[in-house]
């Protein structure tokens, strides 16, 4: 960096002062609205903070212990885990298939890409409402289609069954998030030199061997990014579960649980403790992916 413009007059040079001025709004906004609240969240999770009760006594780990034994919290964890497993699977397999198709689509790619990316761009709430109507027990498209091909004989109330409900919420979430995985993987696919495939074809490698020996290893870093993205987003699933099935325990995600605790039952500190646990869990799982994928695909 050139520093020939730095004047020696002031305590900080001109360049430094300009830099601080330009980053001042960032410091103020991020410091005041993200970092400070984050510190407050961590600190307050060791106190009892409830607007309906007097005082904020120090309670140590009691909030966290209470969370370990709360049956609603435990079920929300299970639900969230199911969401993560199902949606990450759909997004990764579907996203990979979409990326491979897009990569081969030539001149139509621009339009195909626009179509594929559309669900990701729409408000999650609107997506959920569209699917709510598709899942409607009496007049929904899903019942209608399944009946017309003879898979079911009468209308199903889909959210009566807990597991079906979890799958249906995951599908809506995966419908929205799959484009992101597809784009990340497409970017990775486009960075693979074409000559590698030509060489493999000359050596008589089958398409499957080309895929598993060239494509997969070379997109592994993209795959790691896509996996951790989709995991974090699935952990944070809120809109879809809330719109499709409200606060029902059957499909309550950990985020819905945080919302219920903090803003419906006004147990602020419990909600804060739970939100910290959720953040740690989602970051830990996504870090795990990144490490795994990197380790398995090292070339040395």
């Amino acid at each position: 960096m050139t520093s020939s413009f730095v004047s020696k007059r002031a305590f900080l040079g001109r360049e430094a002062r300009l830099g601080l001025w330009l980053s001042a709004p960032i410091i103020l906004i991020m410091g005041g609205l993200v970092i400070l609240p984050l510190i407050v969240t961590v600190v307050d999770s060791f106190f009892r903070v409830e607007p309906m009760k007097m005082g904020t006594p120090f309670v140590g780990l009691r909030n966290y212990i209470a969370l370990m034994t709360d049956p609603n919290v435990l079920q929300s964890w299970t639900n969230t885990l199911v969401y993560v497993v199902i949606s990450v699977t759909i997004e990764t397999l579907g996203g990979l298939a979409a990326a491979l198709l897009l990569n081969r689509s030539g001149s139509a790619r621009r339009w195909l890409l626009a179509i594929v990316i559309l669900p990701w761009c729409l408000p999650p709430v609107v997506n959920a409402i569209i699917w709510l109507w598709i899942y409607n027990p009496s007049y929904g498209l899903l019942n209608g289609l399944l009946q017309s091909v003879g898979l079911i004989s009468e209308n199903q109330v889909w959210f009566n069954d807990r597991f079906t409900g979890l799958v249906l919420v995951s599908v809506v979430h995966a419908w929205r998030m799959m484009p992101l995985t597809a784009i990340i993987l497409l970017a990775a696919l486009q960075s693979i030199p074409f000559t590698l495939y030509e060489a493999a074809r000359l050596d008589g490698a089958t398409p499957w061997r080309q895929f598993s020996l060239i494509t997969l290893p070379l997109i592994s870093s993209g795959l790691a990014i896509a996996l951790s993205q989709s995991t974090v987003f699935a952990f944070n699933l809120f809109d879809e579960a809330w719109i499709l099935n409200g606060s029902s325990m059957d499909t309550r995600s950990i985020m819905v649980q945080v919302y219920m605790m903090a803003f419906q039952n006004l147990k602020f500190s419990l909600g804060m403790a739970l939100s910290i646990l959720a953040m740690i869990a989602s970051l830990a799982v996504s870090a795990l992916y990144v490490l795994r994928v990197y380790k398995e695909t090292r070339f040395d």
Binding site: M1, T2, F5, E15, A16, L18, G19, L20, L22, S23, P25, I26, I29, M30, G32, L33, V34, I35, L36, P37, L38, T41, G94, A97, L101, A108, L113, A114, I115, V116, I117, L118, C121, L122, P123, V126, I129, I130, W133, Y139, L141, G144, L145, S148, W175, I183, A187, Q229, N236, F238, M255, V258, Y259, A262, F263, M272, S275, A278, M279, S282
Partner: protein
């Protein structure tokens, strides 16, 4: 054979991506009594603008009775959505355009620590800070104000915007700016007159991504925009459910209206959008 598989795959992909949106559009154009028929029609038998009439009309008739339209609430929420999304986009892009350049081209104390810290907050989900934020906003009297909602949006989208703009500036040759400096232009002048015009596509991508995120927000306004004075479409539309009966035609019509701005962006500006996403995903 492989060609056939390719086309089949594309057909499935298109059906999966557009099918639900198409179905919502059909629903929004179907008369209410046809919506509750046992017969499933994949194409609308007759088209009606009745549901849109309820959204946009002063009053409308439903099955012979005059009903109150939702236009007063709907128009207000639409206005709120547009205003908060645009405000958040403009503020985020302006701050990121100048800030990211400072992070790349200027040397000042704490620069690198600050950048790492800010990008690290990408890993902090919104709800982790939401409860203290709620108390801060109540204390500052900013709950249910445009300023409050905009500030929260900006704080949520700024890290990604900074990340994108930094990669844009890093890809620009320093020689351009150095030439201007040698001619005696100030650093700020160089940024505004030479660097920013060249960063157009990057700014565009950042703006689109920010707008889309703001437009789709639900949980933040659910907490911070409790009344119609700032309530956006995303919070209003689900409330059509909680009336004594669920008006799916109305909800789908409102949903289609909420889909229009993002759909237009995808249709006309997908180039920038995809570039932005690809840049955001790579290191």
């Amino acid at each position: 054979m492989r060609r056939l598989g390719f086309y089949l795959g594309c057909a499935v992909l298109i059906l999966w991506s557009l099918g639900p949106v198409y179905w919502s559009l059909v629903t929004s154009l179907t008369p209410p009594n046809a919506l509750v028929s046992d017969q499933l029609h994949l194409w609308p038998q007759q088209i009606t603008l009745e549901h849109y009439g309820k959204l946009f009309g002063a009053t409308s008739t439903s099955q012979g009775n005059e009903v109150q339209s939702v236009w007063p609430q709907f128009s207000r929420a639409l206005f709120n959505s547009v205003l908060t999304s645009l405000l958040a986009t403009v503020v985020t892009v302006v701050i990121a355009a100048f800030g990211a350049w400072a992070f790349v081209r200027l040397r000042f104390p704490g620069r690198d620590t600050m950048f790492v810290l800010i990008v690290a907050t990408l890993g902090v989900p919104a709800y982790t800070v939401m409860i203290p934020l709620y108390r801060i906003m109540i204390g500052a009297g900013l709950v249910d104000t445009y300023l409050g909602v905009t500030l929260i949006y900006v704080s949520a989208f700024l890290p990604l915007a900074l990340w994108l703009m930094r990669s844009v500036y890093q890809a620009m040759p320093l020689s351009l700016e150095e030439a201007a400096w040698l001619d005696g232009a100030s650093k700020l002048y160089t940024l505004v007159r030479i660097v920013l015009p060249l960063a157009g596509p990057g700014l565009m991508a950042t703006a689109i991504l920010t707008f889309l995120s703001a437009w789709g927000q639900f949980m933040v306004p659910l907490v911070f925009s409790p009344t119609l004075s700032t309530k956006p479409l995303t919070v209003l539309i689900p409330e059509f459910v909680t009336r004594n009966y669920v008006d799916y035609g109305l909800m789908n019509a409102a949903g289609i209206v909420a889909i229009v701005p993002p759909a237009l962006l995808v249709l006309f500006l997908n180039r920038f959008l995809v570039q932005g996403l690809m840049a955001g995903a790579s290191k």
